[in-house]
Symmetry: C2
Subunit: 309 residues, 2 copies
Amino acid sequence: MSILCVGSVALDSVETPFAKADRVLGGSAVYFASAATLFAPVRVVGVVGDDYPLAELGFLAKRGADLSGIEEREGKSFFWAGRYHSDLSGRDTLATELGVFADFQPKIPEPFRQSRLVFLGNIDPSLQHDVLDQVESPQVVACDTMNYWIDGSRESFVSLLDRVDILMVNDEEARQLADEPNLLKASRWIRERGPDIVVVKKGEHGAILFADDWLFFLPGFPLEVVFDPTGAGDAFAGGFMGHMAASGSLDTADLRRAMVYGSVMGAFTVESFSVDRLIDLTPDTIEERMLEFHEMTAFEAHIEVEERV
Amino acid sequence: MSILCVGSVALDSVETPFAKADRVLGGSAVYFASAATLFAPVRVVGVVGDDYPLAELGFLAKRGADLSGIEEREGKSFFWAGRYHSDLSGRDTLATELGVFADFQPKIPEPFRQSRLVFLGNIDPSLQHDVLDQVESPQVVACDTMNYWIDGSRESFVSLLDRVDILMVNDEEARQLADEPNLLKASRWIRERGPDIVVVKKGEHGAILFADDWLFFLPGFPLEVVFDPTGAGDAFAGGFMGHMAASGSLDTADLRRAMVYGSVMGAFTVESFSVDRLIDLTPDTIEERMLEFHEMTAFEAHIEVEERV
């Protein structure tokens, strides 16, 4: 099953305490697709300027991405530059040049309109509405956003929630959206407005899935070196939706596994600049880290041991 | 198997955004024993002034605590007063009156000296050394500390590490001790100086056990209300060591379960002031939360599913 993904296709310049990368592949749609195509085909919708190195997205096409929804326009591509703080937990934005992205009007190509799985990357909520208007009958709509839209386009975003099945945000965004510091209460507030599932990403502290009568909490994968945190959240979404597309299942066992695949892809992503680590990943390497997650978190509850004896 | 526990037996006055408690039971030894006695007998060594409501510790004696190592001296008991910030993640100390604790010289009663399991609560490292000098051949020594000693008595504390099997500290303390922001590297630094196991407590974000070639990472139990965070770390240690004493096992399956029982006891503790929530806990309630932790974290790795099919 293919996933329709709409988001930014950008160039990033990133400085970390370790190194510097200049005008490398970035943007929510690129990170999402780089992770999701390891599991299932992805249809990408976005816009780039005539300066974009589209050939560098060739690895996505090879893995079954349909890039025909990336519109090429005269002008500059979306460019973001940032510098991470020494502990990598915060960052300063040095430049944001919207370029052709400023007038982005997502046009969903005819063959993409019957997509059953939709990922709305972090863009203006009014554009996220526009995308859904063009999709015929999506089965699962997952959605990301950021503090900028929660603050500045609150009404539009809250009305979008009713059209979303899975909201994926980080802990600060969840708290800000619900105006509630407690994540259990915040996720309930959000779910009351539409999404059946809220996935809260907590960076190095892991991620929590909140559903109606259950939750799943996976810790972050401990890494010796976090090289560049950019895009981890979008890669998480890619692993999550990718597993969902590959398994074709929404049962709780598969949603739990989707959380793990999301975390696996997020953890790989931060090991290098841009999507570098995701380009040559093999299914075996992914499964290996999946098992490492299992080994790191599994325990036998006492009662099972007693039953076993 | 009994656990020897040496630490503070104190009175706390605590203000939270929700309420206020005045001169209630507190101190590392009290929190530890309140959790650990739900699993195994505990021998408590500490000192109190003649103002201490020792009768209020009766519930510990009923659960198999031997309180004969609590010395009663003329003067005031150790008193701490603090006020938590609105999000409960930070606190201000309003008063610290050491009282008779200022001259505390732990004397381990003769019948306690053959204890196989020892918990050194957060006290001056030179006193932690003194305790170990008096114990004949401990099998497992677990130890807590705080930034104050890591900073001010660094040499004494680092030399203690060689006598410790399990160091239990919070994430900031681990980073400070090893002068290393990355927890994987910090725990390796610590383990190279003695402890086979380092348990890093991360509050609401859970706890990680680092051993030589494996680690176990349990998320924090999501709570709607954190009423009073005081003592959660000591209650964690109590649940951890309590299970160790009850199971008599140090194998990895039991160390994982010890982590869960520690987290369970920490989560109960923060639901009320002081040790209130621990006084009437039943084994069934504890097992129930153990299973909730399991339900919240368990997943089947993909490869197992394939094998099962």
